[in-house]
Every structure is written in structure tokens, then in C-alpha cells.
Amino acid sequence: MRHLITATVNGRERELSVKSNQTLLDVLRDDLRLKGTHEGCSVGVCGSCTVLVDGKPVSSCLMLASNAEGRDVLTIEGLSRDGNLDPVQQAFLDHQAFQCGFCTPGMIMAVKGLLNENPKPDQVEVRDYLSGNICRCGTYVEVMAAIEDLAAKGQ
């Protein structure tokens, strides 16, 4: 069965025909060819597939695509503006807050979600919010430094 939905993806309104059993992640990667959102565990634990829906982080691997109807979906591809990186992306680069990079798009989207909700989080709030985003290279210290920098600049 297919469902016709309208959703905004990275600022552009799209009409999508999605299958009943497709997740938002499936539609982003397979139909829209937005390969920046990664599938890690596929059970909502690792955070690799984090995207923002109406500004809030969700596991796109567990969200039925049909439920994106009328929603505003933001993926890692939608962050940069006019060739300029988003401040969160730039901070990750400045602090080398990644190694292999697999978790990075999800980690960056989770940080966007955090800063949307709380522009100046303290360390405890950051750890709590990001506890569900796993980096197997262990770049947590650098990620924390990047966020501290962003919070100090109020970005």
C-alpha cells in the first residue's frame, strides 16, 4: 500500500508516495538519495539516523514515513547555507569532533536539536541530551568541546 504525503524536506516542499512499511530513513536514503543520514543499529539506540522533525531530534529508523505528513524534516544535507557550513558543522571541524565520521551526521543533528531547545546548555545537560548518540571512535571529549564553544558564542 502507498500513501501520498506532503512534507518539507530541507526547506523544500515535497510530494512523496511512500510505502506502508517504509521508515522516514528509508525514504530519505532510498527515494530522495539523501545518503548523509546513516543507518547504524536500526533499533533507535545508536543515533546515527538522527534527523530533526519540526526542530526535534527523532530516530528516523523507527518513524513511519507516513507520519512525516505535514512535518518539517531537516537532515545533515539541509544545514549549510550558500556554501557556508552551519556553525555546528564548523565547530565539529574546528575541534576535530569525529574520527571515522559514521555517527557524525546524527551527532550534529542531535546537537542542533539540543541548541534549538537550549542555546546555552551546561555540561550535565549536554551529556544527558546526547547520551543516546554513540561514537564508537570515542570522540566525546571533542564533541563536548565543540558544544562548549557553540554555547559560549551563543550559537
Binding site: N21, L62, L64, S66
Partner: protein, 280 residues
Amino acid sequence: MRNFDLLEPKTVDEACRMLDAGEDVRPVSGGTALLILVKQGLLRPQVLVNLKKLEGTNAITRDGAGAVRIEAMATIHEVETSPVVREHLPVLAAACHQVANIRIRHLATIGGNLAHGDHQSDPPGVLVALDAEVELSGTRGTRAMKVTDFLLGTYETALETGEMVTAVTVPPVRGRLVGDYLKFTTGSSEERPCAGITALVRLEDDRPVEARLAVGAVAARPLLLCETDPTEGALQRMAEHAADEMDAIPDLRGSAEYKRHLVRVLGCRALAAAWKEACP
């Protein structure tokens, strides 16, 4: 993911009629629990009924008498951040904040959490401690029952075919409640609870008149113990009694013996903290 058809009702009545078609038709709301079972091949529904798009089913309100009503499609994050819940039921807000991670809390719903019947979850034990009721709608009408009677065992609830959870209601509290939810995980912080302890003391005219201890995640159903003559000694005996009573389920998170030990230690600790808050 395995193939299924997704039906999308607009009203609760329509949803119940769709769900009445039989065992191969299952409801789905946030999907964070059910879709994992489908992905793993543990559940093979032909049809899922999408309850997430039902309109006007996520309000959180408090009536004049002080009962807090949370509609079923409220997300765990909406419960945890609701000003009503934070002010009047802080223990529920605290427990919901500890469910999984922020991404799951934005998707998962309180109704789905109860209907799923997973014993290894944070909210059910707290709702049992708060004496909450669940409201059900079905093709044969509506009914309400205590959460403690609704939860029958692991993945087992009192839901009948053609029925769905529409709300959970916490009755007005006589006097005031103090205490907290204590979650213990043997894995990472966002893991499912190995034990979830709710310890509450109810005060009337600033005098402690009742203590409640609810233990979730340890056995197939939450255990609730109440003490109407609370003293420090009685509270200690409550935790010991709970540990002895529990039919603890051994799993990757710990043996039955280990979990009973946790109930004794954490039960004592949580009740002592609640008592200290009640009688500073």
C-alpha cells in the same frame, strides 16, 4: 522491513472498527517498540492501524478536582515537559525523562507504552504508584481500569480485540506526595531499567499518613506495596518485603537474585529519601 499495510483512521471509532478485524491487525502509535519487533521478525502483522494521526488525542489537562488526564498519543517528551505534570506529578516527569533517549521520547507515546505491555519500562511502575487509571475505547464502548489491573504480564494487557488506550488518568491526591523515581541500569544510562523504584510518602496536614513503594521492570508486572502507618522501621520492612515478594525475571541485565538484592537496597534508599523529604 517486512511488508504490511498501514491503515490511517481519522477518529477513535474508526480506529477501533479497523482493530476489530482480528489478531493480524495491530495498532501502532510512535512505533519505537512495535517496529523493532516487526524488524526482528517477532511480530508479523498483515495490517497496522496508525493511531499517531488521530486528531486531538495528546492533550494533558488537570480538572477542578485535581485529576490529571493524559491523552494516549501524548509523547513521552510531552509528558516529561508538560507544566501540569511537572507541577503536580513531578515523579512522573522524572521517570519519563529517563525513558530511552531524547529521540525515542519524541516519538513514543504514553498510550503506546502501556499498550505494549513491556515490563522493562519506566512509566508503568510510576503510574501504578500513582494509582493511575487507563481509559480504553473499543467497538463495544468505553471502560476504565486501574493500570495495575491493565498490565497482566510481559507483553500482555487487558486490551481486547478492537480496543485501544485513549488516556491515562492520575486521580487527585489527598494532601500531597513527596518522593522520587530511582532508575537503575546495568548498561549505559539510556538503557532499559534493570529496576525502576518509585517511593512516595503522602502527607496530610504535613503529617506522613501513607508510604507507597512500586517496583517496576523486575518482574512481569509492577509490584505495589502500601503502608498506612509509615515509620522508619516500617519503610525498611517494606523494601525487604518487596525483595522477598518479587518474582524477579533473570536476563542479561542481572540474575533473579541480583535483582532482588537491588530491590532491597534501592527500595530502602528511595524510601529513606522520600521519608527525609516528608520529615526533614
